[in-house]
């Protein structure tokens, strides 16, 4: 109950964090709007608008950076400024950390959903399957939060953890081949397909669009498996750091 009482305040802090709103809401909306103007009317060989693919990739790509607020609040409350006060208080800090993870992931998910809504209502993009896309957004949000918690618990310096989270986000975007083609090598091919949460989630949504649910579930379950694998890692590292 005590930890539950803090959820309201965590959400308030998230909503008042204008930098997060800028980076995870305003910037993607601005970019999508620009892309929709640039790519308006352009279609690929299969007749699908280029903008559809771009919007999907962008909505999911920004989820890679959603864990940064979780990381920042955990550091501030449990390892830095509020550390002493929280240690002395009679409540479960592990649960509190978990509540921040949940709130941060939920917030990131909501921002992703808001961007989806924007593309539909303002830019006229038709999403094939809202539920499935939202599910993938949720998976990406949770994965990003877990990875960032592992970074902040695993390294002593918070700025190093921040840099690692940036490498995680930017790295997978680059490895997905969005900016330039990757070398023709098994490792890069793997990291650009089944080893990349971004390409996996984009692939899962694309598979549903063409009705290939087997492939869609397969790719989504790889992301889920990654969450399942990293979750206990996060628990162990978190407990160790909180001791």
């Amino acid at each position: 109950m005590r930890v539950l009482s803090t959820l309201r305040f965590t959400l308030l802090r998230l909503m008042r964090n204008y930098i997060v709103l800028l980076l995870l809401l305003a910037v993607p909306i601005a970019l999508l709007t620009v892309f929709s103007v640039i790519l308006s009317g352009m279609v690929d060989e299969a007749g699908r608008p280029y903008f559809d693919q771009t919007a999907l990739t962008m909505v999911l790509a920004f989820q890679l950076f959603g864990g940064s607020t979780v990381m920042s609040y955990l550091n501030e409350d449990l390892f830095a400024r509020n550390r002493e006060r929280m240690t002395v208080a009679p409540f479960n800090r592990t649960l509190y950390a978990f509540s921040i993870l949940l709130a941060g992931s939920a917030f990131s998910f909501l921002l992703g959903a808001a961007i989806m809504a924007y593309t539909r209502l303002v830019l006229g993009l038709v999403w094939a399957n809202w539920g499935w896309t939202l599910y993938l957004i949720a998976l990406m949000a949770v994965l990003s939060s877990i990875v960032c918690v592992i970074f902040v618990c695993g390294v002593k310096s918070f700025s190093t953890a921040e840099r690692l989270s940036e490498v995680y986000g930017v790295g997978f975007v680059l490895l997905a081949g969005l900016f330039f083609p990757m070398p023709q090598h098994a490792v890069f091919e793997f990291m650009g397909s089944y080893g990349n949460p971004l390409t996996l989630s984009v692939g899962a949504v694309r598979a549903v669009e063409i009705g290939n649910w087997n492939e869609a579930w397969f790719q989504a379950n790889i992301v889920l498996a990654a969450i399942g694998f990293l979750f206990p890692v996060m628990l162990v590292m978190g407990r160790r750091r909180l001791r």
């Binding site: 109950m1 005590r2 930890v3 009482s5 803090t6 305040f9 308030l12 802090r13 008042r16 964090n17 400024r81 509020n82 550390r83 002493e84 006060r85 240690t87 002395v88 208080a89 009679p90 409540f91 509190y96």
Partner: protein
């Protein structure tokens, strides 16, 4: 009742003993002033006493519980005002207090009431709906204190709560500390401002290099130290004063003249002011008198200087 105690507590950082077999007791109802220079171990002591820092040796007991001193039940009765200002910048003052009230188990009406009381207590009621990043340093410090008060702790530990703030805010904080004691809160107050401890503490513990050098009431500490009083007379005719007669008064150690000032150094507590004054008045008009009584600063400087030399000699 002893609310908190430390027995032979040792905390090392490498070869340096930050806490060197410390013994300390805090009894219910007192304000214990923990005095020491930077690096004495005050913050380390607090961190050890509150369970933030594990110790290498020794026993710590909170509210009579030495088996599990840092249990949730004991933490519920403990409040900590951190040296660093630890408030949520994005939440208003009221919201920040509600957060801490919530984690101490307060609910609904009780929580609202205690938050309002805490804000009133530190004089921030008018700023309840403002965010701290717009506050002055003194206001942030007061909010920092309020965060530790919503759950009405039995034992409140304040780690240098007046660092870097204006005199008005400092006075407000000191008054608040005394009010808390009247309300039944026991307080451990650390500072390196001697005048604060002199003003509010019922007992003083002097810490230096991880060791308790001396403890007692302010008066006891002053009396245990052999020290001198300095009395300065501003006189109309300094050359007319018979200095030998003044020097012959029992307890007078030294008499010197500088311009129109006669400085007399006498043993503390000798009560020589009347005797010296009568001699001076017989031979000259007295324009002004200044008497410096020994204070805690003199005690501290004497203790940490002399005692440490004695300790080094006896090793």
């Amino acid at each position: 009742m002893t609310l908190a105690s430390m027995q032979s507590v040792l905390k090392r950082y490498g070869s340096c003993a930050a806490l060197d077999y410390i013994d300390l007791e805090i009894h219910e109802g007192e304000i214990v002033g923990l005095l020491g220079p930077n690096g004495a171990g005050k913050t380390t002591l607090i961190q050890a006493l509150t369970g933030i820092l594990p110790v290498d040796q020794g026993r710590i007991s909170l509210f009579g519980d030495s088996r599990n001193p840092f249990s949730d039940a004991n933490k519920q009765k403990l409040g900590l005002v951190t040296q660093e200002i630890a408030v949520f910048e994005e939440l208003t003052a009221k919201e920040g207090l509600e957060f801490f009230a919530g984690i101490y188990g307060l609910r609904r009406e009780e929580k609202k009431k205690r938050v309002a009381e805490a804000l009133e207590f530190v004089g921030l009621s008018a700023y309840a709906n403002k965010v701290p990043h717009k506050f002055s340093g003194g206001m942030k410090r007061r909010l920092n204190i309020a965060c530790a008060l919503t759950h009405r702790p039995r034992l409140l530990i304040m780690d240098e709560p007046t660092v870097g703030i204006d005199p008005q805010s400092r006075n407000h904080i000191l008054e608040s500390v005394q009010k808390l004691r009247e309300q039944g809160t026991t307080i451990l107050y650390t500072t390196h401002y001697m005048e604060e401890v002199q003003e509010i503490a019922s007992r003083v513990v002097i810490l230096d290099q991880g060791q308790v050098v001396k403890e007692g009431t302010v008066q006891q500490l002053i009396e245990t130290v052999r020290h001198e009083e300095t009395i300065i007379f501003d006189v109309a005719d300094p050359l007319g004063i018979p200095l030998r007669q003044v020097e012959s008064i029992a307890g007078v150690r030294q008499v010197s003249v500088s311009g129109s000032r006669i400085t007399v150094i006498s043993a503390a507590g000798a009560g020589n002011l009347d005797r010296i004054l009568s001699v001076v008045q017989q031979h000259s008009g007295v324009l002004g008198i200044q008497a410096d009584k020994p204070n805690l600063e003199d005690v501290f400087l004497t203790l940490t200087g002399k005692q440490l030399r004695d300790r080094e000699g006896s090793r």
